[in-house]
């Protein structure tokens, strides 16, 4: 008889140095005042399961960071929150993700209005090949946010000011956004996201392509934005997560291992995997 690869052998891949991923997430997945809440979310890329039964609340006006080794599903989960995964044909999402008690995967929900409420900033700065002004004005224009040209100017100016970019670009709004430096481009993308007045901003490793100075600026910006917006940030930098977030979620192999207050997760992790990761033993 040939040996058949059994389920238990596949399960072994869920172990790192003999440490098992827990069946149930450790820590507080619920918060008192959730802006978004995910329940039993599974994501499949074709046959492969990328997210395994994750439940998590995202609190109002909080910064939550997702950390974990590459391929752990944190970006995939992030992209579920504004249905960016819809663009991938083979991606299938089940479970429930609610924003203000409305399931965003409800067929009745218009994905366009969802993305206006849940904005996104990507890993690589991706300004449109248009002028700085048009980059910011694009969102308000397509959503009809500005009633007049004056109002549109105001939206652009205030968005750039919020993103701390106004002073640097106010004299060259008609120049291409792609002509800015990497850090400026990323702040332009953040300004573009907040121009449509979203409730939640998703950031997928926003600083991974930036130098330390630009990173510091973006972090400062996130710090200021937390007052008004709920921010979800995926990061590979543990220091960054520790510096900017209120809560931290640790992902491992498609599962949410542990979530809790950032201070608690970094000083007193509940699970050995989290402990290993934040102390830099792997990942």
């Amino acid at each position: 008889m040939e040996t058949i690869v059994s389920d238990s052998m596949v399960q072994n891949t869920n172990q790192v140095e003999g440490r098992a991923v827990p069946e149930k997430t450790l820590g507080e997945i619920q918060v008192d005042n959730p802006r978004m809440s995910a329940r039993n979310v599974n994501v499949f890329y074709g046959e492969k399961q990328a997210i395994d039964n994750i439940s998590l609340d995202i609190g109002m006006s909080q910064v939550i960071s997702f950390i974990g080794p590459s391929g752990c599903g944190k970006s995939t989960f992030l992209r579920c929150l504004n249905r960016m995964n819809d663009t991938i044909d083979i991606c299938k999402v089940d479970g429930e993700i609610k924003i203000d008690h409305q399931n965003i995967y409800d067929p009745a929900i218009d994905v366009v209005s969802l993305r206006a409420r849940v904005g996104m900033v990507f890993q690589k700065p991706n300004p449109f090949p248009k002028s700085i002004f048009d980059n910011i004005a694009y969102g308000p224009r397509i959503h009809g946010l500005a009633a007049s040209k004056v109002e549109l100017d105001q939206i652009v100016e205030s968005s750039l000011q919020r993103a701390g970019l106004w002073e640097e670009v106010k004299d060259r709004l008609d120049q291409p956004g792609t002509g800015l430096s990497g850090g400026q481009q990323q702040r332009l993308c953040i300004a573009r996201a907040i121009a449509v007045s979203p409730e939640v901003i998703l950031m997928d490793e926003p600083c991974s392509a930036l130098d330390p100075i630009a990173t510091a600026k973006v972090e400062e910006l996130i710090h200021e934005l937390r007052e008004q917006y709920t921010i979800v940030i995926v990061t590979h930098s543990m220091q960054q997560a520790a510096r900017i977030s209120d809560r931290t979620a640790y992902f491992h192999l498609g599962k949410l291992v542990e979530v809790g207050d950032t201070k608690q997760v970094f000083t007193n992790p509940r699970h050995e995997l989290t402990q290993d990761y934040i102390t830099g033993r792997f990942g």
């Binding site: 960016m84 366009v112 991706n126 449109f128 090949p129």
Partner: protein
């Protein structure tokens, strides 16, 4: 497995080996460089040969010989009813007026044979030319005017030196008598060599000296207009649908394969299809630019679709993400971001397709655009022909002068093509944006 234990190279030896390998690499690079240079040189050589051949034959074709005659515009002779309309002028004796002045220029030859030879000197289109002159300048009636008339194509060929005087009279197309007349006119300075107005403003004609490309040029422009109006929107829409919206299933796969196959179908097959569908089944008239344009559109569609899809695929996904991320719908993402960025590539494909269509002969022969049509088409439903077909027809005629006209028409076709490509490059430069 080696018997000896491996001895690590000392740095000296390693450096020597590296040096040897560098030399080998350098030799390979030099060889490759020379191969490339030779290939480019050969290609350029052929191009130069081609252009030299076409230009050396075609540039003389842009010119032709004219004879200047002093014609007396006698109102009673040219316009007997005195109304100065096309109809009334048709009753006038223009040939008579021209012949009178021709005989005068030749010293009034006597005898039927001499007169017959003299008549062979000028083009048979001369009376039409004189009639047009009178229509345009009615105030010149009753006066003496000098007008240039084209010489007959045999005379033109003789003047170019392509018919030798040494050939026995019986073996050449012009007689000794005629040569004598030509010499006399040349001595008087009446023969001139000028840019051919017939070539650019005349239409198809059996007489080589009057044959022109105007009809074919207009036909080509009309056909291409129909072609681009149909093929570009259809091709871009198909590419966008297949690339951005179509579900990835078996049906789309079959469609994709068939579009690629279509690009390889010989063009004459499209002509047969056009004949069967548009002319036989739909009963559309033959020889019209509309049918020609539709057939060429079907032929260029696959080229446009394939290049447009490549252009769409080259738009970085990050731009799509950015647009979707601020809440643009799929349609807005495509219209506002993907299409503008893909447009330069799409235009390139379209221009390549159009250039192909411009040079196409075979499918148009099938739908009857090879007919002999003297009138310049006034619209897409008027019968007409196109440049390459005109060239094809002229190449088939026996008269010597058609050889030059053919080459001249090829020059015009190439100029058309080059200006089209230049327009495309300019357009692309204007639209191109970096990201």
């Amino acid at each position: 497995m080696t018997d000896r234990t491996y001895q690590r190279l000392d740095p000296q030896q390693a450096a020597e080996r590296v040096k040897a390998s560098i030399n080998l690499r350098k030799r390979k690079e030099t060889r490759f460089l020379w191969l490339g240079k030779t290939a480019v040189a050969i290609a350029l050589g052929f191009l130069v040969l081609l252009f030299a051949g076409i230009l050396s034959k075609g540039i003389p074709g842009l010119f032709q010989y004219y004879v200047t005659l002093d014609v007396r515009l006698d109102a009673r002779q040219l316009d007997p009813s005195g109304q100065m309309t096309v109809e009334s002028l048709a009753g006038g004796d223009f040939d008579g007026a021209i012949l009178t002045s021709l005989y005068e220029a030749l010293g009034n030859p006597e005898g039927r044979k001499e007169k017959r030879e003299a008549r062979r000197l000028i083009s048979s289109g001369s009376s039409q030319r004189l009639m047009n002159y009178v229509l345009d300048n009615p105030e010149q009636l009753e006066s003496m005017v000098s007008i240039q008339f084209a010489v007959d194509d045999d005379v033109d060929t003789f003047l170019r030196g392509l018919i030798s005087r040494e050939t026995p009279e019986a073996d050449r197309r012009i007689s000794d008598q005629l040569i004598g007349y030509i010499d006399a006119l040349e001595a008087e300075g009446r023969i001139s060599y000028e840019i051919s107005d017939y070539l650019f403003f005349g239409s198809a004609s059996r007489d080589a000296e009057m044959a022109g490309i105007r009809g074919a040029l207009v036909g080509s422009i009309l056909t291409l207009l129909v072609c681009i109006v149909i093929a570009f929107p259809l091709g871009v829409a198909t590419a966008v649908y297949l690339e951005e919206m179509a579900p990835k299933n078996r049906l789309t796969e079959i469609i994709e394969i068939n579009i690629n196959n279509l690009a390889a179908v010989p063009s004459v097959v499209f002509g047969i299809m056009g004949l069967a569908i548009f002319i036989v089944a739909f009963g559309m008239p033959r020889s019209i630019p509309l049918v020609g344009g539709i057939v060429l559109a079907l032929m260029t569609l696959p080229t446009i679709i394939i290049s447009s899809r490549a252009a769409i695929r080259a738009v970085p996904p990050s731009i799509r993400d950015a647009a979707l991320g601020v809440g643009a719908s799929k349609m807005q993402t495509i219209m506002h971001h993907v299409l503008p960025l893909a447009m330069p590539g799409m235009l390139t494909g379209t221009i390549i397709g159009m250039a192909q269509a411009l040079g196409e002969t075979a499918p148009l022969l099938m739908i009857g655009m090879v007919a002999f049509i003297v009138d310049v088409p006034g619209g897409v439903t008027d019968p007409g022909t196109v440049l390459p077909v005109q060239i094809f027809m002229w190449a088939d005629f026996a008269e010597r002068m058609f050889v030059q006209k053919t080459s001249a028409a090829i020059i015009v076709l190439l100029a058309f093509l080059i200006s089209m490509n230049a327009a495309a490059i300019l357009l692309r430069k204007k639209l191109e944006r970096r990201w």
